[in-house]
Amino acid sequence: MTSATVPGRGSITWTRRRRAAAAVWKQYWSSTQGRAGLIILILFFGVALAAPLISPSSGLDVTQAGGPILHSPTAGYPMGTDEFGRSIWTLFIWGARVSLAVGIAATVVAVGIGTVVGVVAGYAGGRTEGGLMRVTEWFLVIPFLPLAIVLASVLSRSLFTIVLVIGITSWPGIARLLRSQVISVKERTFVERARALGAGNSRIIGRHILPSVMPLIFANLTLTVPIAILSESTLAFLGLGDPLRVSWGQTLQASFDAGATSLGAWWYYIFPGFGIIFVVLAFTMCGRALEAVLNPRLRDR
């Protein structure tokens, strides 16, 4: 019988975990939603990563824009041009990089803070938990968009600010979720056994608690990224983004400012907008499929 406190790659614990992961993957792939979502994501990420190869960044330079002003899609400009004569296809693929990157970065910040707060609160209990959860509740009371607006208006208008702002406003929900999960795991027998055998707190957290809540964190990640992407697009639309960096939200803001709706320049807002929709949909589908796998109760949906 292997002791739960013995680490090592070759140990039975890891083999068990690897087999479980493989089973999860097999189940995930069997869901149409999961498959479709993942394929769409791979497509978008691929295009975003390959942007420098597809269309050079000089296409973003307003001083070198050679195309016709606000022209509908043609052979040379598959998504039309903006009011400076730049190809919107170039804005689209380079904007994808920023929108996706900001979405992921903000999620990492939010999940990072939320995990630390939630795990510490759930594990420590007592006054630490009380204090941390009170702070969490205070932040939950504050509406996201106004707080984001206030923060973005007092800090400089940069991508870093956006990531920070989304991260700061999104962590409370995750913290709350993780805390309850940690509490339920904490009471399980294997943890008691580990403690009886003399394992310290960090070992228990690291070897037992974290791995147990990892699936929850992961599912949350997939559902938080689309929220972060939507938030970034809203903040950019309101003019809080970095106007010199192209993102899908920034392009939508530029199109609205240029009066694309009244001028009939549909290509200016259709493509970036549907880019957002497809990516968010894909993440949501992946997230739901993942949730169904990890939480069998939901599988009958």
Binding site: D61, V62, T63, Q64, E83, F84, S153, S156, R157, S158, G239, P243, L244, D257, A258, G259, S262
Partner: protein, 609 residues
């Protein structure tokens, strides 16, 4: 069950109906009076901030004061030359330090009191002694202000002042204002003002509109419109729509991008230049304060930068053609003071030339394409700021930073609010800034901002030389034009000073943006541009249009009738308390409904057991 559902549905319908009614109701302004029935409605985006000329600062406030007060000598419509207002004639002593004004004897305040020299002396003296912010620059140099008799005013200055006879101070009634001491005078609202001008303020609904009716006893004759009503709009599209529909007759400061939406033949657009110019400010490093990049101390670097900016491109791409490419610094609203640089001496857009200037000056490009100082250190990476107050600046900066890339200069761009940018400029912690200035008619203030004496010394002394530029020759010219009484000489000196500015290039003037105004030519006629050809028709220096405008006599009989009626509050008025009440009812219904559902749940649970 069914009864409850019916009630619920009825409530929902009721709420929706009530809500829309609530939104619709609101204050309606009183009907107009005046010598004629014509009502001129003007659309603006900016409300008056204060009716008190000592307290207010916004442009809309100046509009009101122009219409309800008088000055000694006013500006002519077409060329800003001096014309009589309160003063009928004026003369100067041979050395130009003492001016004597002869006043009209038939002017009256709206409460019947006569306007005399005592009011003039009182106003000018208080403005000087209490340093009234809006007027102090014009009166600070007066040593003596007296009224030898009821219709004469004598003003003596320490030095000759070429701006006289103009003294752009609104003359206020002594018998009213003497009740307010130094502290009170800056804060009392002045909403029932005693005035002498062609119009009187009759109503002000803050945030919504204000109304001025004609003064039938005005000394120059009653205005031809009986009422001028200003409506405040929250957004440009609504304002343009109101102009199209005839709800307003004229608009000021419409978003130029909407010009195509008002292109009916019954609308005359006015692409006005009000003297404002937008410039790239470079920190040239004078004075003890600040940490600007040393490269900007070299005029060749600044000249290279001037060559790297395509001002025509900025006007066409960023301003959509609504502006004039920049040249020399505009020191006055009056075009006669502004230098026109001959075409062969301008900084034409030439990236190759810019690069070669920098190469020859020794700023070689490093391995990463960014230039360094001649000794190889300190790469030319500039901190570039712009204010968030106008979205056009962001696009200017985008273009400029890309052009600078092409000549080996890297930029680190940051947007800041105007409030934050001011201390950054004052402490010199920047390299490049894009911002704007609006000059007066008197060129001295704008010229003074770039004198050595205006270079900040302590970082919070509020001085205006944001280019940290000091040039003794320029300073000498500034000092001499300041007291030069010969107009031709003065203009020559001013233009020479501007030539130095252009050559040394602490600023690169990007463009003069157009302010878009428009009016319904089928309803009113008589608008005049001040100054002629390029100036605005309203919101100008002295607003002569309001006295000259009259309704178009048309066969269709439209015009004044429509605009006098139907004045609901503007689209951003909405309702106030009724809306809240309705909203509260909605909230209560909703919460009650939720509670009801929960109660049902508990009961159902009981039924189960």
């Amino acid at each position: 069950m069914r009864f409850r559902r019916v009630v619920g549905a009825a409530l929902a319908v009721g709420i929706m109906a009530g809500a829309t009614i609530a939104v619709g109701s609101g204050p309606a302004p009183a009907a107009s009076g005046g010598s004629s029935d014509a009502v001129l409605t003007v659309g603006t985006k900016q409300d008056v901030d204060s009716m008190n000329p000592v307290a207010g600062v916004l442009l809309s406030s100046y509009e009101v004061w122009n219409m309800q007060y008088n000055v000694l000598v006013n500006f002519k419509a077409d060329d800003l030359a001096p014309v009589p207002d309160i003063a009928t004639s004026w003369s100067a002593s041979p050395d130009g330090t003492t001016w004597t004004y002869k006043l009209r004897t038939d002017m009256q305040w709206s409460d019947g009191e006569a306007l005399t020299a005592d009011d003039v002396v009182y106003t000018l003296t208080r403005a000087r002694d209490e340093e009234w912010a809006n007027f102090y620059p014009f009166v600070s140099g007066f040593t003596d202000i007296t009224a030898p008799d009821a219709s004469t005013v004598v003003v003596t200055s320490a030095e000759p002042n070429p701006n006289l006879p103009f003294i752009p101070v609104y003359i206020l009634p002594e018998h009213v204002w003497k009740k307010y001491d130094k502290k009170q005078v800056a804060s009392f609202p002045n909403t029932n003002p005693v005035t002498s001008g062609p119009f009187r303020l009759t109503q002000w609904d803050k945030g919504s509109f204000w109304e001025m009716t004609a003064n039938p006893d005005y000394y120059a004759g009653a205005p031809k419109v009986g009422t001028v009503r200003f409506r405040v709009f929250g957004n440009d599209e609504a304002m343009a729509g109101a102009l199209r529909n005839g709800e307003v007759d004229a608009v000021h400061d419409l978003n130029p991008q909407l010009e195509s939406t008002i292109d009916g033949s019954n609308i005359t657009p006015v692409e006005a230049l009000d003297g404002t110019f937008t410039q790239l400010t470079m920190n040239t490093g004078s004075g003890p304060v600040g940490n600007g990049h040393p490269a900007l101390e070299d005029p060749r670097v600044r000249q290279a930068i001037a060559h790297a900016i395509d001002k025509e491109e900025l006007v066409s791409k960023v301003l959509k053609g609504l502006g004039q490419p920049g040249q020399s610094v505009g020191v006055s609203v009056d075009p006669k003071y502004n230098l026109t640089v001959p075409a062969d001496k301008t900084y034409n857009f030439d990236i190759a030339q810019a690069n070669s200037i920098l190469d020859q000056a020794g700023y070689a490009k490093g391995s990463n394409g960014i230039r360094t100082m001649p000794d190889g250190t300190d790469p030319l990476k500039f901190r570039f700021y712009y204010p968030t107050s106008n979205s056009v600046y962001a696009r200017d900066v985008e273009f400029i930073s890309k052009w600078l890339d092409q000549i080996g200069i890297a930029t680190e761009v940051t947007a800041k609010s105007e409030d934050e940018l001011t201390p950054i400029e004052n402490t010199g912690k920047f390299d490049l800034v894009v911002w704007s200035w609006t000059p007066y008619v008197d060129p001295s203030p704008q010229l003074s901002y770039l004198t050595c004496g205006q270079v900040p010394e302590t970082g919070d002394d509020g001085r205006y030389n944001d280019a940290f530029w000091c040039n003794q020759e320029y300073d000498a010219l500034y000092e001499s034009q300041r007291v030069e009484l010969d107009p031709a000489q003065r203009i020559a000196q001013i233009k020479e000073a501007q030539q130095i500015l252009y050559t040394e290039a602490p600023y690169v003037v990007l463009y003069k943006p157009v302010t878009l105004q428009a009016y319904r030519n089928d309803r009113f006629t008589g608008f005049v541009k001040q100054p002629a050809d390029t100036g605005p028709v309203i919101y100008s220096q002295s607003d002569p249009s309001y006295l000259l405008v009259e309704p178009v006599v048309s066969t269709s009989g439209g015009g004044s009738g429509d605009s006098a009626s139907g004045a609901n509050d503007s689209d951003d008025g909405g309702s106030s308390s009724t809306g809240i009440i309705i909203g509260l009812i909605v909230a209560v219904i909703v919460i009650g409904g939720g509670g009801y559902l929960i109660a049902r749940r508990s009961r159902t649970a009981d039924e189960r057991e």
